[in-house]
């Protein structure tokens, strides 16, 4: 059941972004703390580019903390100013294109998942049982969610570099889903290079490349094949096909690792060329990776936060290894909750990916509460910020409270989606055994 007006809706979303970029005037979104963080701010990128033009290291001072490659691509665009528009209009136009590409890749990923799902359900002979309840085109939904998500729009118009980071994550997932090892490796290396957090996505990527896209747990197939062999021993086709699904293929994983090494080398080479005159790669490692990433570990609090991301990697991987794509979604959500400088751009990414599992998560609880919670927080947070910073009538506690509520909402979303996915798998097993 595909969405009928997909293309017109997607075009409308892109058009809406363009209208905001071209005619919205200066909305000052680039300096909102929710939109741009010190790591993704385009103004800081412009400052880094200016320092580089003045033949200084872009990392001298503590303004710029981004990748040298972004300087290469976006830097020259920050210089150009056109009358009547806000400063970084060219960058914003690039981000519109980047968002569109990301949405299309999400759609393609959704298609892959859909095909795999239909094949699996067919092999389990559950097509009627499950499809009757819900069967929507998840890819279309996910890409529309990504395109029409107000946070994605705000991030794109406010021109901070998180759309590019999001695109790299999406490329990685798409490449792994369609078993394109070079593409997946490129996405992985670039995403890790841009913000380091996506490094934990290596687990779902290897699972995706090894086992293929999401499938019901192997136990279900085993039950099915045993029951099938009980009822009909001669039916060898089905059991062999189900065994194929479980096999771990080492070849794409091996390719992925080779390509990853290649891309790492390539990215380092490019960075060293960019930073050639100002100290080379050493500068990048000292000032960008070590200073910024490991400076997070300065205080106990930040250690607690960043370590918590890593703590949940293994339990989730054990429990959800049969659904690597979903695992990737959960990882991105956890990173968005716990990273040191969160922004709405990260949330836009995982909410877009959430749409990919529309069929599986149809029976999720608290959706009403979550939906209006997100709306409430996104309305209250700017108000509290305004009261604290601009008017000076409220204090930081109120703003902190909205941040806390936002974290709670995200936590509930993650926990609920994990538990409803587990429930869904259980339902499949019950259906098979029944």
């Amino acid at each position: 059941m595909a969405i009928r007006n997909f293309w017109s809706m997607a075009a409308a979303a892109v058009g809406f972004r363009l209208v905001l970029v071209l005619f919205g005037g200066d909305l000052h979104l680039a300096s909102r703390p929710e939109v741009s963080t010190p790591l993704t701010s385009i103004r800081r990128l412009a400052e880094g580019y200016w320092l580089k033009q003045a033949s200084m290291s872009p990392y001298s001072g503590s303004m710029y903390h981004g990748s040298p490659l972004l300087l290469l691509v976006l830097g020259p665009l920050t210089n150009k100013r056109s009358v009547g528009h806000h400063d970084h209009i060219y960058c914003s136009l690039i981000f519109v294109a980047v968002d569109f590409i990301a949405a299309m890749l999400i759609r393609a990923t959704g298609r892959r998942l859909q095909i795999a799902r239909n094949r699996n359900l067919k092999s389990l002979e559950l097509t009627e049982a499950v499809s009757n309840s819900v069967n929507v085109s998840a890819g279309d939904i996910a890409s529309l969610i990504y395109l029409w998500n107000p946070w994605a729009i705000v991030t794109c118009v406010g021109s901070c570099t998180s759309p590019i980071e999001n695109l790299m994550v999406v490329i990685m997932i798409y490449g792994a889903c369609s078993r394109l090892a070079p593409l997946a490796a490129f996405g992985y290396v670039m995403a890790t290079h841009l913000s380091l957090y996506p490094a934990i996505l290596i687990v779902p990527i290897i699972l995706l490349l090894g086992y293929g896209p999401d499938a019901p747990p192997t136990k279900v197939f085993r039950i099915k094949s045993s029951s099938a062999s009980k009822t009909d021993v001669s039916d060898n086709d089905k059991s062999s096909s189900s065994r194929d699904v479980q096999q771990f293929l080492w070849k794409p994983v091996f390719h992925f690792i080779l390509w990853m090494l290649f891309w790492t080398f390539y990215v380092l080479l490019l960075s060293s060329i960019v930073l050639n005159k100002v100290g080379g790669l050493q500068e990048m490692f000292e000032k960008y990776f070590f200073a910024e990433v490991f400076d997070f570990f300065r205080s106990f609090f930040l250690i607690v936060f960043n370590m918590n991301i890593v703590f949940m990697v293994l339990p989730l991987a054990i429990r959800l290894k049969h659904r690597p794509c979903f695992l990737a979604f959960i990882y991105t959500a956890i990173v968005a909750i716990l990273k040191s400088y969160p922004s709405v751009g990260d949330s836009a990414l995982y909410l877009g990916l959430l749409g990919l599992f529309a069929n599986e998560l149809a029976e999720m609880q608290f959706t009403f509460f979550l939906f209006f919670g997100y709306i409430g927080v996104s309305l209250l947070s700017p108000v509290m910020h305004n009261l604290w910073i601009w008017r000076g009538t409220g204090n930081a506690n109120f703003y902190f409270a909205t941040g806390l509520a936002y974290t709670c909402l995200q936590t509930v979303l993650v926990v609920e989606s994990v538990s409803s996915m587990i429930k869904h798998d259980r339902k499949l097993r019950l259906l098979v055994t029944a």
Partner: protein
Amino acid sequence: MAAPPPALRRLLLLLLFSLLLLASVAAAAAAPAAEEEEFTEELLLRPLPDRKALAHFHFRSSASPSAAAAGRHHHVFPKAIAQLVQQFHISELELSFTQGRWNYEQWGGYDPMSTNYAKPPGVELWAAFDLPLDEIDATWKNLTHTLSGLFCASINFLESSTAFSAPRWGFKLNEGNLRYGALPREAVCTENLTPWLKLLPCRDKAGIASLLYRPSIYKGYYHSQKLKLTSSQSFGIIIDQTLTVVLQPDTFRGQQLHSTDGQLQPSWSMKDLFNRKLSGKCRVSKSSRVFLEIENDIVDKSGTEASSTNELFVLSTAPDRVLKELNNMDAQSSSLYEYDVSNYNNDKPLDVGITWKLPLIWSCTPAPYHANRFLMGSGNERGSIALSFRSTNLHKQLFGSSNDCSIKAVVFQVVPWYVKVYYHSLQIFIDGNSKAISEVVEKIHVTPSEDKHLPGTLEMLLRLPCSMESATLSLDFDKGFLHIDEYPPDANQGFDIPSALVTFPEFNSSRSYPEGDTLFVSPLLQTFKEDGVVKSYTEVLLVPLTTPDFSMPYNVITFTCTVLALYFGSLLNALRRRIGEEERELKKAAAKRGLIPLLIAKLRGKKVDPPPQGSSPTSLLSTKLLLKVVFVAVVAVSLHYLSNS
């Protein structure tokens, strides 16, 4: 007490004799040293156009290279300073304590006084060291602590690397051996003056320094106390201690005069300014002189060539000498009336004063541009610093009215790290029109700020067209967040950004006066004669920063940990839950009813279902339980054994 035995008495006598001998030898040694160390005291008085009077005290102590090298004993030279120079290998140092702001429009911006002695509010310290470059930062830190102790001021705050910078050419041309720091909020009071006076041989007990009556000098409009130190192998150590005050003469008691229309300028004398008269010089000073400086415009108008009584004013005491500035250009020049204090004593004290006969309006020559700096924007998130130049058309007076020329201006500005300046956002407006940066900025050197480590330094050489009336430079900044314990006690007051310095390298304010005495050069006039590039300091900016709720950390820790626990617990719970098993357990629990429910059921007369399964699962369960118990016991015993051994 019994008399000492004769042997001991003889010994004592011998000791006394040898002591006497030593003292005479020391005196003989000190005699040439006294010539090697010099002290001079001078005072300059000047009426200002806005009915105020300027008093500038200048004390110079110098030690010749041999005296400075000897180090152990000093005759008049302060030992603390000599040790400071030796310890830290200082080649130049300037420390100023200032209260109030020099009014460049009224008091002049193009004379030696304003270029050398107009200082930014608070403490300003710069020092150049004669050391390898890698030792300079450490030496600077030690120096700040030493000066802090020496002058009873919080100069030690300049120790932190966020407080000082190393300008290359914007402040003073150097090879990286100069450090500059400023504390705009430092309050200046008598506790800073007393240690400063201690460096003088007569303190404030005799000589010109005895005029420093605290209530009168601290009620002035501007008060700047400065110590300048130069040291070199060729001429030894020289300290110039100056105190510049702008006072309101106290003549019209009870009657405040502020309008200038047709009113007489106030007539004043030393007695009115300082509540003291000068009765003799400091005995150890080589020369002790008082100057009264009158603008040449006035002197020329008065007709008679520089005499003490004329149509415009009368001097209370006839001067010993009149010095008229040499080779004065079209710009402001002045005449000096000189008094030698050694001619006066307690019976005949000196009271230099001026009495005006006619109402008079004059103005001081301003700097080529009035430089002002201000903040733009509201709120605690971002803002802009704007630096504006207003032309005073001085170049037209000096170089004729050619409009094709351009004037150089050097801007030097240090910005603390919590004001995060975006240097790429530099915008320049000339007469209201936006100009390309490359048209105006000839040379720029930026040291970007590093969070909690380095302040940002901006050095910029501008070339402003002569025809321009006004120019504005603006820089955007974001306000940073400080750590909760970095806020000062009164956090809501805001934070000060030190003054920017604007230098006009093409304009020189030096003045030279004819020397009456060829043997002795007055240090005051010598500093006037030295190369004085026109400088002006801008205002200190007050930036309000966001203050947190200072009770917040506890809330934040507790709430955040709660949310983290919620996340961790509920996610792990969702992951490890086996719904199928739970249902089985529930069924089992329902089957294994306790004794009391059984009794209640019996009492109610209901039939109790027998357990559905046989006894075999329970026996299995018991063996499992037994195994578990054995396992735990084994673990416990082994642990115990391991911990004991």
